[in-house]
């Protein structure tokens, strides 16, 4: 029973990690909270639903389509909404509000066009079967989610550690202006970062669609979880984002498994408030006093 819950928690935690890493990446570069991150997740969950239901029932194809559409939506958001503001050097909080406006708009457009009902992925995907290890039954879909997410995160880590763009991202996370003086094309870098965040959010959206069905508020409820994970691990820190996400995922599953499933979200948000009161910089947070 415990092993089963643990694997489930790791799967959920890995989906949170995909979200949180994308959010933290944008936050560490531009120091603003991207409220439109949830839009990408919701749209990709629906894209995954339509591809799997009407075209081809194949999980790898679904992941690929979700990934590509995630990149497209995220870059589109950057170019249409954030770019005009960044060019004007607007206050960072204006970017937050623009993102919020965008997410309110898209959420309600989806309700109008596709109705607010929950859309469940085709049953072939959901019933992939179970694996029995000892006396624990583990859903294969959970293992797939965990595996794909970990591979995606490792790829990102290798990219940031070894590539030239990765070096630019690491440099820009210290100071965007200085990176720009050193000859880094920061406008191009931002598009790349939004593309990476979009790809991760696209995969996350697809997996959430499988686990929780697709619905208009999926993105915003998941973004809230990403915020909690980010604060738990330390705002702006990528390793912190991953650790925070897995901790939150496992704790949520344990709470809903052993106490009550209705208390899961109460627990998560109360956890956030407690962390902010006790240790606001989180587990791995840098001292955020000096990072203006």
């Amino acid at each position: 029973m415990f092993i089963q819950q643990l694997i489930n928690g790791l799967a959920i935690g890995s989906v949170y990690a995909l979200m949180t890493v994308g959010y933290s990446l944008i936050y560490s570069l531009m120091s603003f909270t991207n409220f439109a991150h949830g839009v990408v997740v919701t749209v990709c969950a629906y894209v995954g639903y339509f591809v799997l239901t009407f075209f081809i029932t194949n999980i790898p194809v679904g992941i690929l389509v979700a990934l590509v559409s995630g990149v497209a939506v995220s870059v589109l958001i950057e170019l249409s909404t954030y770019r005009p503001l960044l060019l004007r050097n607007a206050k960072r909080l204006y970017l937050c509000i623009a993102g919020l406006g965008l997410s309110i708009m898209v959420e309600n457009l989806i309700i109008i066009i596709l109705s607010g009902r929950f859309k469940s992925y085709p049953s072939e995907v959901l019933s992939l079967g179970n694996l029995t290890v000892g006396n624990a039954t583990i859903g294969i879909i959970d293992l797939v989610i965990l595996l794909v997410s970990v591979v995606a995160l490792v790829c990102l880590e290798v990219y940031i550690r070894t590539s030239k763009d990765g070096l630019a991202i690491r440099g820009a996370s210290f100071s965007l202006d200085h990176a720009s003086i050193m000859g880094i094309n920061t406008d191009g870098l931002m598009i790349k970062v939004f593309a990476i965040a979009g790809a991760l959010a696209g995969i996350a959206g697809f997996f959430c669609g499988i686990k929780y069905t697709a619905y208009p508020k999926l993105g915003s409820s998941l973004t809230n979880k990403a915020f909690i994970s980010a604060v738990l691990g330390g705002l702006g820190s990528l390793p912190g984002a991953i650790i925070g996400s897995f901790i939150l995922g496992i704790l949520e599953v344990l709470v809903s498994g052993y106490i009550s499933s209705t208390l899961r979200d109460v627990f998560s948000f109360s956890l956030l408030v407690v962390i902010l009161l006790v240790k606001p910089t989180g587990l791995l947070g840098k001292s955020s006093e000096d990072k203006a």
Binding site: A98, G101, N108, I112, T281, E289
Partner: protein, 298 residues
């Protein structure tokens, strides 16, 4: 003359106006964003309702207790997060707003998701109007005072404000306190006016709406916020047809994005609506008209 339906809408508008003014002080004048002000309304509403329903206290005591409770929670959440740079405060308000709503939904003592009924009536339109006028008067004076100017200085440039010797943290906390007090008062009034409370009355959509009204009215304009609240609060009542509610939110979202991109200062900008301002506007118009005449007159 005015039937009770419209009187009801006017009363509700007056009540929500208080919460909008609270967000206006925090967001418009101090430059801090709260995505969870509906949560503070909920605290005010439920504390006052419990005090009146179970504690048998008079209505006024309930209103005061509700206001005080919301203020205390606001200061408690502001104290650790306002010291930090970055979006901690923003995430904290988002978290507290959601946490409060979810706790209320699962707490059977206050009726859970079904809500709390018979919380004590006694709010009438004249009373709300009186409170509105007093609050607006007090806020206008606050903004003209040294303390209000310090808040505005923080919004404009934090580093410069600090260099001028302003205690940034204290004034941010002050703005948060005032803002939460007003939200709590609005929540308490709403509960006693409607005679019931439900957690869904205080969901994140409500928080976002409060923020949107302030943004549309204009950053740093008390009258701008008042005008936009007077227009936008009754709007859903007028638009009670089909999917008008969803379209309303789509349009709000679009408007917010467009306003932020093209006219980030909102409807009124930093200007206040006053008789003096109107006269100045017309005299400018006249002057321009005279100026243009020689050019155009052939």
């Amino acid at each position: 003359m005015i039937n009770s339906y419209w009187l009801g809408i006017m009363t509700q508008t007056g009540i929500y106006l208080l919460a909008v003014l609270g967000v206006c002080i925090l967001t418009g004048f101090t430059g801090l964003f709260s995505f969870g002000h509906a949560g503070f309304m909920a605290i005010g509403g439920y504390v006052s309702a419990i005090a009146v329903k179970y504690g048998d206290l008079p209505l006024v005591a309930g209103l005061l207790l509700g206001t005080a409770a919301a203020t205390l929670v606001g200061i408690a959440i502001g104290t650790p997060t306002l010291k930090l740079r970055g979006d901690y405060f923003l995430i904290a308000t988002l978290g507290i707003g959601e946490a409060i709503r979810m706790i209320l939904e699962n707490w059977t003592f206050v009726g859970g998701a079904k809500g709390l009924t018979d919380v004590g009536k006694g709010i009438s339109f004249p009373l709300v109007l009186l409170i509105d006028v007093v609050v607006i008067f007090m806020l206008a004076n606050f903004l003209r005072s040294k303390h209000g100017r310090n808040c505005i200085a923080i919004r404009e440039n934090e580093t410069a404000a600090r260099a001028m010797g302003i205690n940034i943290f204290r004034y941010k906390l002050l703005a948060m306190g005032i803002s939460c007090a007003l939200a709590g008062l609005a929540g308490a009034l709403l509960g006693h006016y409607m005679n019931y409370l439900q957690p869904t009355m205080f969901n994140s959509v409500k928080s976002n709406e409060l923020l949107i009204m302030v943004i549309m009215g204009g950053f740093g304009s008390l009258t701008g916020s008042i005008i936009s609240a007077l227009i936008l609060v009754p709007l859903p009542e007028v638009l009670r047809i089909g999917s008008a509610q969803e379209w309303r939110m789509v349009i709000y979202g679009l408007l917010v994005v467009l306003i932020i991109i093209f006219k980030p200062t909102g409807l009124m900008g930093y200007k206040e609506f006053s008789a003096k301002g109107i006269l100045a506007f017309f005299s400018r118009l006249k002057k321009n008209a005279f100026k243009r005449q020689p050019k155009g007159g052939e």
